[in-house]
């Protein structure tokens, strides 16, 4: 199984910010992660590196963690080349 986007975001938070959001609910407000505004900008950059995407800036209207997950999912779909059909892993 590949990790879900939420899981990968949690791993990033733990690795780079030493923040364990545990079983945080996706509908929780984005502020509940506990990053200040500077760290949040840095976190978006870390997300871009992790998913090899470029997020739109400024990142407005992200209310919940689910909004962030959706944004990442949408951007990955838009910006990642289609994977070959004969992929055999998993």
């Amino acid at each position: 199984m590949t990790k879900t986007i939420l899981e990968r975001l949690k791993t990033l938070l733990l690795d780079q910010y030493n923040i364990d959001v545990g079983s945080i609910k996706p509908e929780a407000p984005i502020e509940s992660i506990g990053l200040d505004s500077l760290d949040m900008v840095d976190f978006f950059y870390a997300i871009e590196q992790e998913f090899k995407i470029k997020l739109p800036t400024p990142n407005l209207n992200l209310k919940s963690i689910q909004d962030l997950v959706d944004l990442v999912e949408r951007t990955v779909k838009e910006q990642t080349p289609q994977e070959p059909l004969n992929r055999t892993t998993e």
Binding site: N18, I19, L38
Partner: protein, 409 residues
């Protein structure tokens, strides 16, 4: 005017990451210069440097370390040592009258160069958002101020090789004139980066590499060829003598003189008159005669020009007595830490009085008729009755600074 004493020392250096280890290595005549192991080293013409053995994760959690350029890491570790060494405890009211002055030549240059490399090498379309707060020259001051809650004057001085002498000297004056009671002051430099090393190399002031890297930097020796770049930080806690005495602090020495004068002559070339003026101004500021000085820690860069001109300037100020004053260049061992050099050398001066031992000039193998003073060659020298010491710093850009430290009496 308040008298100003030194109550704490902190060192991150190519000769060890504590003031004690640093001084022990100095006295033993050990060199901190070695082959440079970086990936880019093969592309350098001169592949030696005086590096710190420094593992950031031994001092900071990983999530904090990654937000600090090495210049701030070094500065924070040295400041923490100095504050602990001074056993400093400040009330909220006292914190408002305490500050931080740090000298640095190029600040968080690694953060900037790393970002630039991403643009050039990886065609990055966005840079790490912390590039600016990591790279800015006042980051070390800001982190130290924040760490200890110091809310008085917090300033960064950038005057090349004299940056941290200026930081310490200006902090001394600030306390002297009653604007602050306690200051953390010193310097930090972390510029052993590809771009910087290449730039230094082409300037032609670096020591050519000897088969034994430790023998590359040879101040006052006829065969000298320049300095070896170093990195690290050195910080002191300064406080008013009244305050230090009141709290029963261990007093390591007193700053009695400081000067900063300008060459107003040439962007890199020092002059005998400029150096002599700086030394004389510090003596005048201290209100002492030249013959009170028992040891001079030279700027001693080991460039062909500096060492001759500094020797002449010392003779101009001290007259025939210059021959009786030991003068050494500790850069022969710890390298040239640029913005942190003066503070590190100042700490060597404080400890030389404390321990009554003079640090040597190493690699002085070939006498130069134009450098004919007592340079304490080879190994540390035990002395007695050493009370007053001068530390010279002469910078690119022409901002010279001299500090005089004395046993507190």
């Amino acid at each position: 005017m308040n008298r100003v004493v030194i109550s704490g020392l902190g060192v991150v250096s190519p000769l060890g990451n504590s003031s004690q280890e640093f001084f022990d290595q100095l006295i033993a005549g050990k060199s901190g210069v070695s082959k440079f192991p970086a990936d880019f080293a093969p592309r350098l013409g001169i592949r030696i440097a005086a590096r710190c053995a420094f593992d950031a994760e031994a001092y900071f959690p990983r999530n904090i370390a990654r937000k600090l350029d090495p210049v701030s890491q070094f500065a924070l570790v040295a400041a923490e040592q100095a504050v602990n060494d001074a056993k400093l405890e400040l009330t909220e009211e006292e914190k408002r009258r305490s500050g931080v002055y740090v000298g640095t030549s190029v600040g968080g240059i690694k953060a900037l160069l790393d970002g630039h490399a991403l643009l050039l090498v990886e065609n990055a379309t966005r840079l790490p958002p912390l590039s600016i707060p990591m790279a800015m020259n006042n980051a070390p001051v800001s982190h130290i101020s924040t760490r200890f809650g110091l809310k008085g004057a917090c300033l960064t001085y950038s005057t090349a090789c004299s940056s941290s002498a200026v930081a310490i000297g200006e902090a001394f004056r600030l306390i002297q004139h009653g604007y602050a009671d306690v200051m953390v002051a010193g310097g930090s430099e972390a510029s052993l980066e590809y771009g910087l090393l290449m730039a230094w190399e082409s300037l032609g002031t670096l020591a050519t590499e000897a088969s034994d890297p430790a023998a590359s930097c040879r101040p006052f020796s006829k065969d000298r060829s320049g300095f070896v770049l170093g990195e690290g930080a050195a910080m002191v806690v300064l406080e008013s003598r009244d305050r230090a005495r009141r709290r029963g602090a261990r007093i390591l020495g007193e700053i009695i003189g400081y000067s900063t004068t300008a060459e107003a002559g040439h962007i890199t070339k020092p002059s005998e008159a400029g150096m002599a003026a700086a030394m004389q101004a510090a003596l005048d500021n201290a209100g002492i005669a030249a013959d009170s000085i028992g040891y001079i820690n030279a700027h001693g860069t080991a460039t062909p020009i500096n060492d001759v001109v500094e020797t002449r300037a010392i003779k101009q100020v001290f007259g025939p007595k210059a021959y009786a004053i030991p003068v050494s260049s500790t850069k022969s061992m710890h390298g040239h830490l640029l913005g942190a050099a003066s503070a590190l050398e100042f700490i060597a001066c404080v400890l030389s009085i404390q321990h009554q031992v003079l640090p040597p000039t190493i690699n002085l193998a070939v006498p130069d008729p134009e450098c004919d003073l007592d340079y304490v060659p080879g190994q540390g020298r035990k002395v007695s009755g050493l009370t007053t010491v001068m530390s010279n710093s002469f910078a690119f850009g022409g901002t010279n600074a001299v500090l005089i430290v004395r046993t507190e009496q």
